[in-house]
């Protein structure tokens, strides 16, 4: 396992560089938007990976609620944290694309607003995990994660159900895309998925180790109540 991680890290770095080359050089230039459209190759995979991680968080939270499995709790925490990072990228790159194309940084339409609300739900989930010391925190967080995950389909389908300024989906939603652009999009999605997997893996190991250290501190405090407390 220790040898596998650096190998996967190098392969992912190569894949990310290749995906960047594809996005900047190989993908055709869009006729009306020009090069700004290339933001799409980072913006869309970030959203998809964020949603995927929130669904894993949902599954892990349900599993934790049923079985009280500590590993499931760690998976839930890690996927929420990394999911928030990817959704942050999505929320930041969107306005950078919108400014030259729409002439505005932000509009309170359904897709943008619901994405922001989803981000706030998972940020509050992370605040709850970080600042609550109650023994019931994983349980409360799991319940909040279930509510958060219910918002994901709403965000995704909001462009079908509401009239929004956001472009229509390029896959399976009435929109269309040049096959070469789709190819580049899929390469970027694959590269960032591998990256997300590695980040989740290292964050999982860190959290597991942190809990072992906390447990050791607690044992030390029990055995040596005067000097053992941190």
């Amino acid at each position: 396992m220790k040898k596998l991680f650096p190998v996967l890290g190098v392969l992912t770095a190569i894949l990310l560089i290749y995906a960047l080359y594809q996005a900047l050089v190989v993908a055709p230039t869009e006729r009306t938007m020009g090069d700004v459209q290339r933001i799409f190759y980072y913006h869309v995979p970030s959203a998809i990976i964020g949603f995927m991680l929130f669904f894993i968080n949902f599954g892990a939270s349900i599993f934790y609620l049923i079985k009280r499995n500590p590993a499931a709790d760690i998976v839930a925490l890690v996927t929420a944290e990394v999911g928030v990072v990817f959704l942050t990228v999505n929320l930041v790159t969107g306005p950078i694309w919108a400014r030259p194309v729409w002439g505005i940084w932000w509009t309170w339409d359904m897709r943008l607003t619901s994405t922001l609300v989803l981000w706030l739900i998972y940020v509050s989930y992370l605040f709850l995990r970080r600042f609550s010391s109650s023994g019931e925190t994983p349980l409360l967080a799991a319940a909040l994660a279930v509510l958060g995950a219910l918002c994901v389909p709403f965000v995704y389908f909001s462009i079908w159900f509401f009239r929004t300024q956001h472009p229509q989906p390029v896959m399976g939603g009435g929109g269309s895309i040049d096959p070469r652009m789709l190819h580049v999009l899929l390469i970027n999605w694959l590269a960032f998925s591998c990256f997300a997997f590695l980040v989740c893996w290292s964050r999982y190991r860190l959290e597991k180790l942190q809990r072992e250290v906390d447990h050791a501190h607690a044992l030390e405090s029990l055995m040596n109540p005067r000097g053992g407390a941190r």
Partner: protein
Amino acid sequence: MRNGYLFAAYAVTWVIHITYLGSIVRRYARLKREIEQLKK
């Protein structure tokens, strides 16, 4: 000018990811120090 937006979007993406990776590395380093103290 329009390429400036493209550069900004790509740059900010990597700034966010690298900042997060940096936070993981810092937490690992702090944890290692704690483990060393526990061993003593």
